[in-house]
């Protein structure tokens, strides 16, 4: 305003009049000025903006995603897995052979969650702890989590006459999860994984199975997304006669529930069983239908 006034006024009197006008017009400008002042104020306090909802739930399909349950929230998950679709009409395309896992996950802090579960497959108990080290934000390109799991096969020993150790039925898994939400609808995740067997069947079988998983999701609408997940086992560090786990499915969200419907070639629902012991060939029709229902309960309300 000042420069305008001076450019227009070689004559001092005129500049004086303009100054008066400026004074008078202050009220006309004031509202915009107040809004501008507000914008300046809010610009200053722009905070770290964390990316949320990279995935809809804590599992991509079979395996973990970088999502955690919120602190104080209990997530009750029931997963079902059926037989091979290729088993034909007599088995109702696998629906006659259902196996399930029931699990309870709980959020301890914003970054740390734990969970326990029981699968009918090999009467297996499992527990895990997942910690988020990095959170994607306007200052950080990725989210990085680590998951450690332990699985216990409570199925009776195959050979009860020999000396058996309880630890022979224990398995451990370790995963690094690296994910990025590229856009509102598209997220990708990489998950290098190691699974340790205390006891393996064959003399030449490795005790440590290494694999690299990759997965992603694409939102189809606000409440439905399509997910895919694949685990590639390193050929020198895999159990014989096993295949890589392939899964494709949908996440459907309805208020407090998330339904996951998918097809996969894996029968197990814990890291050890679906990553290291998948035996179906996905592309030759060894496909199983499966679904998971996740329901969250708020146990501890956050302080508002």
């Amino acid at each position: 305003m000042l420069t305008v006034a001076m450019n227009l006024s070689p004559n001092m009197n005129r500049s004086f009049i303009i100054a008066i006008l400026v004074l008078l017009s202050a009220s006309a400008f004031a509202q915009d000025d107040l809004m501008k002042m507000l914008e300046d104020e809010t610009q200053e306090v722009r905070k770290k903006d964390f990316t949320t909802a990279t995935f809809k739930t804590t599992r991509l399909i079979n395996g973990h995603s970088v999502e955690n349950v919120a602190p104080g929230v209990l997530d009750f998950r029931i997963s079902h897995r059926f037989g091979f679709l290729s088993s034909g009409a007599y088995e109702l395309f696998g629906l006659d052979q259902a196996s399930m896992r029931m699990g309870f996950d709980y959020g301890l802090t914003k970054r740390w969650m734990i969970g326990v579960g029981r699968s009918t497959y090999q009467k297996q108990f499992d527990g895990f702890s997942k910690f988020k080290f990095l959170r994607q934000s306007n200052q950080m390109p990725v989210t990085l989590s680590a998951v450690g799991g332990i699985m216990y096969k409570s199925l009776k020993f195959d050979n009860p006459d020999q000396v058996n150790f309880l630890t022979s039925k224990l398995y451990y898994s370790g995963q690094i999860l690296l994910a990025r939400k590229f856009s509102e609808s598209f997220s990708l995740q990489l998950m290098p994984t190691m699974i340790h067997y205390n006891l393996v069947e064959g003399v030449n079988d490795p005790n440590d199975v290494f694999s690299v998983g990759a997965g992603g999701r694409m939102k189809l609408s606000k409440r439905v997304s399509i997910n895919a997940e694949y685990y590639y086992q390193l050929p020198d560090y895999k159990l014989p006669n096993t295949t890589n786990s392939v899964s494709i499915g949908f996440d459907i969200e309805t208020g407090g529930h998330v339904f996951q419907l998918y097809v996969t070639n894996s029968s197990g629902m814990t890291e050890r069983s679906f990553i290291a012991e998948t035996n179906g060939n996905f592309f030759k029709g060894d496909i199983r239908f499966g679904f998971t229902i996740s329901r969250v309960f708020t146990i501890v309300k956050p302080k508002l």
Partner: protein, 182 residues
């Protein structure tokens, strides 16, 4: 000589203007949706607002992500599905105190205020009127107001599946304590 007078007058105008402005960064805005099925409540304690007593104007900036809910999943859905806070990070209000001539901001007391202006939520600007209370105590202003907005006015879509759980109008409570802006 007259140029310096001009600058003086201008700086007086600006000084006079800013003296009447009060501000808060910790204003509280909460909302309530009540249905027989479920009550939903969220609070935002980081609202920035400015009030200009001289001109009788009031503005608000409300970060959507700063609304916090009892249930984490509600908060996620509120941001992801309903208010789309990545697309529309903040709500704003720009309004006038229509009866400001009846309020003496220099005198302690409680005054009824009528406010009218543009409320922008979810990227949609609507004319909104509300009544509130202004309390002046030792030169500092506290403001409070309760009004309702219709979700449909701001194109917040409620899927039929949860329609019984989310009220079509929500009640908004505003509470701000202002301090003179330096």
């Amino acid at each position: 000589m007259k140029r310096s007078l001009f600058i003086l007058l201008n700086s007086l105008a600006i000084a006079g203007f800013s003296q009447t402005v009060q501000m808060t960064r910790s204003g509280q805005v909460s909302f309530f949706s009540k249905t027989p099925m479920e009550n939903i409540e969220a609070v935002n304690n980081e609202v920035t607002s400015l009030i200009d007593t001289g001109k009788g104007e009031i503005v608000f900036a409300i970060l959507i992500k700063s609304f916090h809910f009892d249930r984490a999943l509600m908060e996620e859905h509120f941001n992801e599905n309903y208010l789309e806070s990545n697309k529309f990070p903040k709500a704003t209000f720009q309004g006038k105190i229509t009866n400001s001539t009846k309020i003496d901001f220099t005198k302690n007391g409680t005054y009824e205020a009528a406010i009218e202006g543009d409320l922008t939520i979810h990227g949609i600007k609507q004319r909104q009127a509300a009544t509130g209370t202004l309390v002046v105590a030792n030169g500092k202003i506290s403001a409070s107001s309760i009004f309702t907005v219709k979700l449909a006015d701001y194109k917040v879509e409620i899927p039929s599946l949860v329609a019984e759980k989310i009220s079509k109008t929500v009640e908004i409570h505003v509470n701000c304590r202002y301090e003179p802006k330096s």
